[in-house]
Amino acid sequence: MEYFLQQLINGVTLGSIYGLIAIGYTMVYGIIGMINFAHGEIFMIGSFIALAVFLALAAIGITFLPLVLLLMVVVAMICTAAWGWTIERVAYRPLRGSFRLAPLITAIGMSIFLQNFVQVTQGARVKPLPPQIQGGITLMDSPSGIVVQISWIQIIIILMTVVLMAGFSLLISKTSLGRQQRACEQDRKMASLLGVNVDRTISLTFVMGAGLAAVAGMMFLLYYGVIDFYIGFIAGVKAFTAAVLGGIGSLPGAMLGGLAIGLIETFWSGYFSVEYKDVAAFSILAIVLIFMPSGLLGRPEVEKV
């Protein structure tokens, strides 16, 4: 029971990170109908920027933790968002409306490019960061010796995810930008005829997705304390799985899918085998797509004859 609770907490934390990345996938897929393969790399870039900011702040003597964290989030979000914007502008916009495989190939090309760009500029070796936020709240201290604990960093991750999700949902449902975005999702040509700047809306989608991925990257860095140039691929595929599981195009779905994938992975590792945890996640992806292609919260698609 204690073990179960601890795994649950760990699973929710991991799921929050996946959920934040998944939002980027789901929004981009919703608006332009392509898998932004490079989104996992955006997440990786976010974590590298967060690390560099942390070290730079330490070098100039700023060590007050809340301020450090705040600056890390802000700078990482801004710089990563710039990457998101640039990728869209360079690799996807020229191909908008072109044939469907082309942006997928440029996305894969971008993904390869970004991985190797970081590898070349920052080195191929893993970057360890000692845990910065230690301690936590002990929820249960059983006589069997298993302690159920929720660490401060886990609390921060979960809280931050909740806050970002809430803010984001408001943004999409209440603001003019959100309305434009939903309009583009429904019918891009019509939205454009009605005076919506489609290019700008799509760019902003990428920017927002990248911002959230940057937060996820920073939290990944703080939570696991190890990053390398390759973390984006696996995290990206799993986050995409989460987006699909939740129903692609749906924001709550992305979060829900993220939690589901996080929990599945944690419990699988906790009770079965760590080696096959990726197999579990990928199998879920395949099973969901085959038997429930519209996901948990997505709209079912009817075949038109």
Binding site: A58, C79, A82, L95, S98, F99, A102, I105, I112, P293
Partner: protein, 485 residues
């Protein structure tokens, strides 16, 4: 009444015109929403845009050029390198300025404009001539290399073998993606199944190359059917992501199933192919001994080269032949319109499975060849990046085009591999410069640039599989890519 009827039909565009109009409309990148043009002069605009670009590059590269995290004693160390950052920003400024001022010459710089240039398509005779020329070069390549470039022949022959392996893989995947329109991102799975089947059969049962090769191909085809079956209902991107997942699952299983596959250590000591029992080694009973030649290690390379050339040509021959058979025509029809296929009594399940199986079989052959050439295999050789490279070759070459695959393989694999030789660049970038490090970086960038330049690939026309009177190639804009509907 009669009058209004005629005017109504006169206003309606002719069918084909209307269709192509619709198509053009749907493909248009530029939306009706247009930003107001500025009144700046060319110079001012160029400066402005260069400034924006430079600023963007400054932000993008700040944490990658300016700051660099290094592992030091007791944690991480931050080093600062403003020089390369400033250089990068400067290059961005100058580059954008020159581009805006001279190339775009006052027009708004939309890269979309390039596509119009690319629309002019290659003519059929050029393709035929080029194909025959390439075939002749391929057939005589080992001798050409040995006489013309004796110093580098081994390296270049090895590179040619590598390129041909990718040509074969590209041709195999072309059946699935190019002809049947099924987007497969996990093709490397079949390559892996072929390689592991071959290696396990050859090392455990002591079977020769020529027995293991077809068996490995059959195994891979079987896997093609097994993995194809669950994904029959999926289309487009979903199909891509599930096939990617399958590819990764197979790799993870190969990595963790120690008893069977040797785990991360892989399988060692895979036997080399023999020519009717003649080995390519020194001493008794070897090829050189039998023919009374002097032993040279290049003989084995030449032999391997001809094996892969023969396998690749077999792939090409079978594919070209199948295109003219009902099954191949059904593949292409499936790519064009699945529902119409069903309405004509075609069992689309079988059509898809044959495409998966045929493509997988050739992937399996290529995998066997890879295993025997290396003598050693491990899961590391079968990562997603391989699938991505093969798919990139097919798409960059032009979907469904056999010649395109060859060109794309030579450009992408050969071109990138040649980077290794550019050690001369060390003079410019300093002794620490290692061009091989940039191989995949440039590969990724090249994928993006070629795709933006030619979204339909290098050879984008389709040749009909049956002719009544006159053979006309079909422009890429008419051919569907299997996006379903």
């Amino acid at each position: 009444m009669a009058n209004s009827t005629t005017s109504a039909s006169a206003n309606r565009p002719e069918g084909a015109e209307r269709l192509s109009e619709e198509r053009r409309e749907a493909m248009r990148g530029e939306p009706p929403f247009v930003e107001a043009p500025t009144d700046d002069t060319r110079l001012v605009r160029a400066l402005k845009e260069a400034g924006v670009t430079a600023g963007l590059v400054a932000v993008l590269t700040l944490f990658f050029f300016f700051f660099r995290t290094d592992i030091a004693v007791g944690g991480l160390n931050l080093t600062v390198d403003p020089k390369s950052w400033i250089i990068a920003v400067g290059i961005a400024f100058a580059g954008r300025f020159l581009l805006t001022y001279f190339v775009f010459a006052g027009e708004r710089p939309t890269i979309g404009g390039w596509k119009k240039v690319a629309a002019a398509s290659a003519r059929w005779p050029i393709g035929k001539v080029l194909g025959i020329t390439l075939l002749l070069i391929a057939l005589t390549l080992p001798f050409l290399l040995m006489t013309l470039l004796p110093g580098q022949d081994r390296y270049l022959l090895d590179l040619s073998i590598l390129i041909l392996t990718y040509v074969m893989l590209g041709w195999g995947l072309n059946i699935v993606v190019g002809l049947a329109g099924l987007l497969d991102l996990g093709y490397v799975a079949f390559y892996a199944v072929g390689a592991y089947s071959f290696a396990l059969l050859a090392t455990n049962f002591d079977l020769g190359f020529w027995i293991c090769l077809p068996m490995a191909g059959l195994f891979a085809a079987l896997w093609g059917v097994m993995l194809g079956f669950p994904v029959l209902r999926l289309r487009g991107d979903y199909l891509a992501i599930v096939t990617l997942a399958f590819g990764e699952i197979i790799r993870v299983v190969l990595l963790n199933w120690y008893d069977f596959t040797g785990g991360p250590n892989g399988i060692l000591g895979i036997p080399k192919p023999t020519l009717f029992g003649l080995e390519f080694s020194r001493g008794e009973g070897s090829f050189s001994d039998f023919f009374g030649l002097e032993y040279s290690s290049i003989q084995r390379f030449v032999f391997l080269y001809y094996i892969i050339l023969a396998l690749a040509l077999l792939t090409n021959f079978v594919t070209m032949r199948m295109r003219k058979l009902p099954v191949g025509r059904a593949w292409e029809a499936l790519r064009e319109d699945e529902i119409a296929c069903r309405s004509l009594g075609i069992n689309t399940v079988n059509v898809k499975l044959t495409a998966f199986a045929t493509g997988a079989m050739f992937g399996g052959f290529a995998g066997s060849f890879f295993a025997t050439r290396q003598g050693f295999i491990s899961p590391e050789s079968f990562t997603f990046i391989e699938s991505a490279i093969i798919l990139a070759i097919v798409v960059l070459g032009g979907l469904g085009s056999q010649l395109g695959v060859v060109i794309a393989s030579v450009v992408m694999i050969g071109g990138i591999e040649l980077l290794r030789n550019l050690t001369g660049l060390q003079a410019i970038f300093g002794a620490g410069f290692d061009p091989t490090q940039y191989r995949m970086l440039i590969f990724g960038l090249a994928m993006v640039l070629i795709m933006v330049w030619k979204p339909r690939g290098l050879v984008s026309t389709r040749t009909p599989s049956a002719i009544y009177k006159e053979k006309k190639t079909i422009g890429a804009d008419l051919v569907a890519q299997g996006e379903g509907h």
